[in-house]
Amino acid sequence: MARTIILILLFFSVISSFAQKRYTISGTNKDEATGELLIGATVKIKELPQIGTSTNSYGFYSFSAPDGEYTLLFTYVGYETLERQVLLHQSQTVNISISPGNSLKEVVISSNKPNNDNVASPQMGLEKLNMSQINQVPVLLGERDILKTISLLPGIKSAGEGNTGFYVRGGASDQNLILLDEAPVYNASHFFGFFSTFNSDAIKDVSIYKGGMPAEYGGRLSSVLDIKMNDGNNKDFTVQGGLGLIASRIKVEGPLVKDKGSFMISARRTYLDLFLKASSDSTIKGSSLYFYDINAKANYHFDDKNALYLSGYFGKDVLSLKNTFGTNWGNSTGTIRFNHIFNNRLFSNTSLIYSNYNYTIQSLQSTDNFKATSKITDLNLKEDLQYAMGNDHTLKFGLNVLHHTIAPGDITTTATSSFNSRSIEQRYGFENAAYVSDEWKANDKLTILYGLRLSGMFLLGPGTFSTYNALGNTVSSITYSSGQSVKTYFNLEPRFSASYQLNDDNSIKISYNRNTQNIHLLTNSTSSSPTDLYVMSSNNIKPEIADQVSTGWFRNFKDNTYEFSAEVYYKKLQNQIDYKDGAQLIANQDVESQLTYGSGRAYGLELFLKKKYGRFNGWIGYTLSRTELKFDAINNGNYYPARQDRTHDLSVVGIYQLSKRWSFSGTFIYGTGNAVTYPTGKYNIGGLTTFSYSQRNGYRLPSSNRLDIGATLEGKEHKKYQSSWTFGIYNIYGHRDPYLVTFRDSKTVPNTTEAVETSIFATPIPSVTWNFKF
């Protein structure tokens, strides 16, 4: 099948090249110093600025142009622009390397004319962050954090103080597809969300799609966070690392075979437990509290056309109280990828991906001992092809076969325990997809990106599957044998976006996309918890569906130094999930009986002004939005604000390079408080003051705001090594951001009640990190 498609495409390509006398230029674009492949670098013809393309996730580009003699321009943010003369009388390969620029040389920057990709590209709802910005944005305790930094972008909201969960355009936090080298990461947080699982040392590229998802992505409703790890330096060995207040990290990279293969290994561990050792309490003293993670990657380029990549991640959180209680959880992922360039128009990537998330909870006291484990394992085979057809079309198509194994819960106990041993049936299923998309440059002004994704969910036996009615009672129970089909869902997901360029600096874009989701997170706590449970679409749970339309105006100023965009979106959500009163989610065979289903809608306006270049850079993002849910059993079946509904959200990020050695940064955030449910009355029941409620999420926590600052001091230049100091103060004016508000009998005035606000990190929190590289 795939072979036939390729042949047809080849046939068309031959036809079109004969007809127009056009030749193809293709190749890879690398960092000159390290040999890292550059993702999303622009290639253009100086004489024909409408003709050009950008490199894909593997640094590969391909496009065609009429017979002629040209100057090629290669540009990439933070790098010097490279010009290369080509005599285009035949198709050819142009592999190039460009070197990182110096942001202090403002002159260089204005001469290398940053590109206007964000105006010209049909893609909308996409934000890219470069690692040097992420590394300079000040964060809690100096632990640089991709997830915290992306939540400073418009349309992306942090789930709250000290929480790495994030909401994109009103979607729930499980509606984000988080990919690390194509492997889905199920729990992206350490320590219940205080830190993210991504060690920024090991990361090369971060892209987040808030809307207009290209057809090659699917499986989640709200967003795709696509994170790519570094390949490793293939020129020289380097070691770099840092010592921080709560964690240290180290990275080693270097060539395996010079210019052909390289490796990278990066590790990080926290030592918060050292603080516990200082405690006078013997139980706390004997406790553990740490996490670690390891990223590793290796690649080998057999020749110009064939390359193999291996990458992996392993992380674990460990937390225990001496002789009482212990828990640990972690993700592991592995990806094997093979790139093959069939010819200068057709690029192929084949990936085999493994992903696992598991947790263990243990009670160590003899009278109530137990050990509970749960895990989800994915095995995924992907084939992605990219084909440059003529000058006007870039086709992408592929297949994805993803197998899930979910072990929801296994409990083992001893005879003295209060608890029984128990094992919940494992669940198996396939999530398969096929997609095709085409980026079509219709003319100088209009570019259209359209595609279609077919997703299929196949829930398979063995196991006993019960169907529940609205009350949660079992209606029927059927036992299936191994591999027998329990339930199948097919969904067609159209994706469309288009840009109409008014001139070099102005464009209007529109997009529509449908996304579906067949794996759902069940959690009944507001912070990310290791016991978060995943379930597949089933005889009870229908696939979640989101339809999103958006439109926007994109404007660049001052030779593309400033980028401005205004986007509006409307999103309709179907088959959303909530829980019944008193829901019990842990190790529950009948967990699906505890669910109730509803719908939702989200809409908003996002304004974004960004200065990408120069001594002073940063951005301002503002979002005005609304997110509402509708469940029959809640709020009399009327729409109510979702917890993550945040009317106003403002972030300001500034980075200033004062001198060669000193740079400063600051972030300011302001946001409307979360929607919360407050009592509208009280009564006495069972001898206790009890509160009555009449409207779900009818109130707001007070608004939050915070200013963080940071500074980096580069050490004096040495031939052999470099070092730097990073300083930061989180919440510099000690603002008390409300974390939650609770209600209780007054502790001071008898026979009355009071509201109590809890804040965390309500004081300035300093940090210092020493970084080195040699």
């Binding site: 001496k322 507001t526 019990q584 509208t680 006495n684 029941i685 206790l688 509201a755 109590v756 965390i760």
Partner: protein, 265 residues
């Protein structure tokens, strides 16, 4: 099984620099709603059904009594027990006791509306003993926590509610458990609370109730909501699901009752 959240919260509290303050809030006022609290126990004693109305959050904790109602309970054997109005909205009957396995129906007529509820009294499960042990955290302070011990019968679904008093003051907390994870086991259940600190010399009394399923969900929902006052807290609070029709605040429960008292050493 659910205690893991408590431990996690304790560790988070050490980690996160948290602080609290009392704040003034403008809260809505959806008051004057009927509250019914009806209990039938297996002990021959006066049984009570209390009628009141809810008040605004900023009021004092005094709740207007509902007077002039007609209150009665009937059982599945055709007996009807009329309840007599007493002071402050308390309706009672002298020396009546429920029988395990029987279903009781409550009827309340007030202001032209009729409210009904039914509850089946579960079997009595013997409360073996209650014990005190030093808390794992802050062990140097010799603070104690209470564990209840009982044998859960196998192959039946059982639900329990405990009420704890320290020196005759009721602990502000809800303790509701079922045997989902403990069916047929000899159960040691910690009654974890942070309202009253218990030290040697204190007198602790625990009442154990065997409750039916709907009433368990009622108390469990309240218990989960009381657990929201710490990091990682639970879902949005709502009125617990009542067994009274038409729905109003409160519940009607037929349950067994036993009490044990210890003096902490």
């Amino acid at each position: 099984m659910k205690h893991y959240k408590f431990y996690i919260a304790s560790i988070l509290a050490i980690l996160a620099v948290s602080c609290t303050k009392v704040i003034d809030l403008k809260l809505g006022n959806d008051t004057g709603k009927l509250v019914i609290e009806g209990n039938i126990t297996d002990v021959s004693e006066p049984q009570y059904i209390k009628l009141s109305r809810n008040v605004a959050f900023n009021n004092t904790n005094t709740y207007p009594a509902v007077t002039g109602a007609t209150v009665s309970v009937s059982d599945d054997k055709g007996n009807t027990y009329p309840f007599k109005e007493g002071p402050s909205g308390t309706y009672s009957i002298n020396l009546m006791n429920g029988i395990t396995g029987s279903t009781y129906n409550m009827t309340v007529l007030t202001n032209g509306a009729s409210y009904t509820a039914s509850s089946t009294m579960p079997s009595l499960i013997q409360l073996d003993s209650i014990t005190a042990k030093t808390t794992a955290l802050n062990s140097s302070k010799n603070q104690k926590e209470i564990t209840v011990h009982f044998k859960d019968p196998a192959a039946t679904a059982n639900q329990y509610r405990f009420i704890m008093y320290v020196n005759n003051v009721q602990v502000k907390g809800v303790f509701a458990f079922n045997d989902d994870f403990t069916d047929g086991r000899y159960v040691h259940n910690e009654l974890r609370e942070d309202d009253i600190k218990i030290y040697p010399g204190d007198t602790v009394t625990v009442e154990m109730q065997c409750i039916d399923k709907i009433i368990y969900t009622y108390w469990l929902t309240l218990m989960q909501q009381l657990g929201t006052d710490r990091p990682g807290g639970a879902v949005a609070p709502s009125n617990p699901p009542t067994n009274i029709t038409p729905a109003t605040l409160g519940y009607f429960s037929a349950h067994t009752t036993q009490t044990k008292t210890i003096v902490i050493k």
